[in-house]
Amino acid sequence: MSFDPTFLAGAQSRLLPLSVPFRFFIAGALFHVISWVLVGLNADTVINFSGGLGFGLAAIHALTLGVFVMTAIGASLQLLPVATKRSARAGGPIVIISLLYMCGVPILVWAMAVHDIEMALWGGVAAAIGLAVYTALIGVNLFHARGLKSVVAFCWAAISALVLLVVLGLLLLLDFDLGFLTDHAALAGVHLIAAVFGFMGLLAVGFSFILIPMFTLSRGMPTWRGSLTLAVSVLAIVLAGFESVYSSKVIAAAAFVAGFSAGAIYLWTMVEMLRSGMRKRLGVPFVLIRISWVLLPIALLLGVLAVGGWIDDQGWRLFGFVLLAGWLLSFLLGILLKIAPFLASMHSATGNGRPARLSSLTPEWPQKVLVVCHPLALVLTGGGIVTGHATWAQAGAMVGTLGAIAVLVYLLEIIRRLSAHRRACSEP
């Protein structure tokens, strides 16, 4: 006898069907492809983006709503109940989130690209309702969570930012049509800060405190370290929001000091986890995660230079690009490469069959393609933004698209291997 046929039988209350996280992961991977294609087809517009509807805004939202939020929904719906010792509930709410969010985002992105405000509002409202249901579902889980106080606090802060960014996003869309806002750009700035640093940033940092020790086999950090990181991060985000509205150099300086401090505590903690971790060979995912950690302070530095007026408009664009595609996308891709086979392995045992090994579910070559393509795409597209040469950005987008396709293949291959494993188990 080697394996218990009741493998994870009792865990089912905390495991959603695999189709739930994977539908969001695959949708996120598709939007990853779409984001790069949008950049490639409209490189000149994207590298000169200065706000307003069009392909630049569409590419940004394909990346943020399509890739980041989509993947975060899939991961958090499954990982949070496991971490907080709560039951995971599938059924109605998840169907509503899937339908409304997955339909709303492509409509919104397409409408932004073709300047169709009415269609953008329909897409935006559908996505917003989906996110409202998601927020309620996560909120109930967090409300009853046991333990992991600092991570739970990160999640509360992140979903508060999500509510703010959704409300502001809808207001901004309406303003394109009605023109009632006195300072559209300032609110767009707050929307961006709430999205990038508030929702996605806090979620990335908060989940790092569980996932990085889990992958490196190091101890979780003390609660005070997480609480301090959160407090300083929230201070930085609030100050950055005020700066966007009041355009004050003093507030900007305070925001950056707080932002660098939060980043320093976070990165120091992550480096400690890597050093103390039992597992030293961390593979391709951690190449991407390390890249993201290097690019976080670089992005903040670019922000200082841009706000201080030391670099021109291209510097602002580079700041946004390094923040989104450099820090957040690299981090998310690294985490996705790790958790997707992990979740699949949890669902690999059927009947009396032997569960699948992680290594047998993890395709190697798509990871290798991604780890070459993603950094190269960042360098080429970043170079295109700095020099203003669209051809560089086009080349970057082509390479980025190749990497994005590799992610899609990676996820589909995991599903294929899992199905093959289940079939082999069910054979007499």
Partner: protein, 99 residues
């Protein structure tokens, strides 16, 4: 054999002060129910990696360790669940015989 509680420092590094580890019936027992994620996983794997724990560990927790199973498989360990009810989970973990 009567149960004998071992000081944590005897079997695992001082990092996991909330873990209980003891010998009972020729097996090392580990109770990680006082820990928050991901420490139950990490503490158990650190114990498994030690050369002096032998080939049988009895794992105790307040819930099934959903992330641990994949790691055990990868390391060539097997398990048999003994208790699985709300708030109580235990299983025997043992090295898979080499084929």
């Amino acid at each position: 054999m009567p149960s004998e509680r071992m000081p944590i420092s005897a079997l695992l590094s001082e990092e996991f002060s909330d873990v209980e580890i003891w010998y009972e019936d020729d097996a090392v027992h580990i109770d990680v129910s006082a820990l928050s994620a991901p420490d139950p996983l990490v503490a158990t794997l650190r114990l498994i990696e030690r050369p002096d724990v032998g080939g049988l560990i009895v794992f105790h927790n307040d819930r099934e360790p959903v992330h641990l199973f994949a790691e055990l498989l990868e390391l060539g360990w097997a398990w048999r669940v003994e208790t699985d009810r709300p708030g109580v989970f235990s299983m025997r973990i043992f090295r898979e015989p080499t084929k």
